[in-house]
């Protein structure tokens, strides 16, 4: 596709930064949410420079004793684990893992889901049936056993975590986008496009997709949020990536240590972060919901 065609698509998709900024700023909650997300983004970007220690570095206090299970103090702002690891460093480095996995899984799943939804919705018939049966099969697939099998077969690697999450998460967005595609397909401007000679693919990507975009972005944000929670759950149960620290992983180590009831600071930090990030993403996605469904807007 030529440059001018691409720019025209962007125009019709109205993916200008200004437009997005406007959408997010329109709503108080999404404004706050957006700022929180930005903070997390910055933290994860500069994590190696912010974190004072390594995540699994046993630390000793000034007296040479293992700094085990210390509550938050000046030296260790979020306290330490039972093995003397600095929780603040862990948290900051884990932020990076969580965001990366969340963003990657969320993006891949929405791309897959959107395309499947568009194609199933537009073509209908056999194509639709096959794709929807596929989606249904995956709906029936329980997440946990699935990821257990994957990890057992291939080991605790980040790629498989992402794969497992993507395979589960794309299904809802596929259904929703398929539904909206079907309704847009009937509209007269699509018939007009066919009359002007547009091919099927052109209609799907040039005519329908820009109209589905608000809904798509809404689900993109949702998908990222879901991915984060899913990854945290998997890690918490011990099925996350073995090499890198994540918030869920921090909770896993807490649980393994048996010190859950004692070390409240160990529990609080990652949990609060998960809740905060996911809630912020939901708030931001609500702003897109108002664009996708104009009836939600205030008069």
């Amino acid at each position: 596709m030529s440059v001018s065609a691409m720019s025209r698509w962007l125009h019709s998709a109205r993916l200008g930064v200004g437009e997005h900024y406007r959408i997010i700023q329109a709503n108080t909650l999404s404004r706050i949410g957006f700022r929180v997300i930005v903070v997390f983004l910055l933290v994860s970007l500069f994590a190696p420079w912010i974190a004072p220690h390594e995540p699994w570095e046993m630390l000793y206090d000034s007296e040479g004793k293992l700094a085990s299970l210390r509550p938050p103090s000046l030296e260790f702002p979020l306290g330490t684990t039972h093995l003397g690891y600095d929780l603040f460093s862990q948290l900051v480095l884990a932020a990076r893992t969580t965001l990366v996995i969340g963003a990657v899984s969320g993006t891949i799943s929405i791309v897959i889901g959107a395309n499947i939804g568009l194609i199933a919705g537009y073509y209908g018939g056999k194509v639709d049936e096959i794709l929807m049966r596929l989606t249904d099969i995956l709906y029936g697939m329980p997440f946990l056993p699935f990821i257990i099998v994957l990890i057992a077969l291939f080991g605790r690697k980040i790629e498989f975590v992402i794969l497992a999450i993507v395979l589960i998460i794309w299904r809802t967005s596929a259904r929703v986008i398929r539904a909206q595609t079907i309704s847009i397909k009937q509209r007269q401007f699509i018939v007009a496009a066919r009359a002007r000679g547009a091919s099927d693919l052109r209609i799907i990507y040039r005519h329908i997709l820009p109209n589905v975009l608000p809904l798509l972005l809404l689900y993109a944000a949702f998908n990222i949020a879901w991915s984060i929670i899913t990854e945290a759950s998997a890690s918490f149960l011990g099925f996350g990536d073995g090499e890198t620290i994540s918030w869920g992983g921090m909770l896993y180590e807490l649980w393994l240590s048996g010190k859950t009831r004692v070390a409240w600071w160990w529990f609080a930090a990652p949990s609060v972060c998960i809740v905060l990030l996911v809630t912020s993403l939901v708030f931001v996605s609500r702003a897109y919901e108002e664009v996708a469904n104009p009836r939600l807007r205030k008069r």
């Binding site: 019709s12 007269q188 401007f189 009359a195 002007r196 000679g197 547009a198 005519h207 109209n211």
Partner: protein, 334 residues
Amino acid sequence: MALVELKHLTKHFEVRPGLVDRTLRNKPSRYIKAVERLNIDVQENEILGIAGESGCGKSTTCMMIAGLLPPTSGEIRYRGQNLGTADAAALKMHRRNVQMIFQDPYESLNPRFRIADIVAEGPRALKLWPESEISERVIAMLAGVGLNPGKYAERFPHELSGGERQRVGIASAMVMEPEMIIADEPLSMLDVSIRAGILDLFRELQDQRGFSSVYVSHDLSILGNVADRLMIMYLGQAMEVGPVEQVIRSPQHPYTRALIGAVAIPDPRVKRPIPKISGDISRPIDPPPGCRFAPRCPYADDSCGHTFLELDTSDPGRHQAACHRLHVLPDEGL
């Protein structure tokens, strides 16, 4: 040779019963027989009006002529070539030659496209010209429909009024220089004071460019004003066809007479006669054979339910009605 010839054009939509009815109770499908053995010839430079009430099949016929809906049976010939057997290149050519103008100015434009992109869509999709030439033509076309390109090209549909949007619709059809325009009730959703302007534009463009048109409307007053020939349809069948003045001033078919008698007149003094037909329009689902107007016709006899006269539309000057009971009708009125 006519520009477009439709021979025995038929369109049936299958209505399948639910899964249970189909498998357990062996219920057969029912058919909506939207268009039945329609013959239409459109000459070059001719505006053929098609009038009829809802369910008469006029919109379905439009879609079939434009190649947007495949017929169940029958032939569509364009300049003698049968579209059913045409190859991809010929179909692409057909797309360019036959364009459509739509009814709803609020729905027929993609809300995410700028006006210039809407008008340019046809040439781009069919790759008719290089991009720079497309831009020039789009600008010229916008001016040609009375929209100042500088003012309108970058706008979005929701910023335009109904009349302006309809002009955009006309521009996007005309920019491809089609030989035939199918107009599906382009005025019915516009305000009265705007309609005449759009109609004027249509006539002006027709004078300049000499395209043919199939103009569909339920409004006989407008058809009387714009069409050369008029065809009356009822439940998928052609009831009458002929030069427009003749069909309106001296209608032959009982249905046409009722229709024309029923049109409201904007003059408080005129009293219209009471039409003699009864009942309501039925839906064209599993209709009886023969003339579909027979159940409501005050002059029908037994054979009307079995046989139906197919009209021959090849002679544009000929006025005919699909009725073999004409000799029983009074000279005028119903």
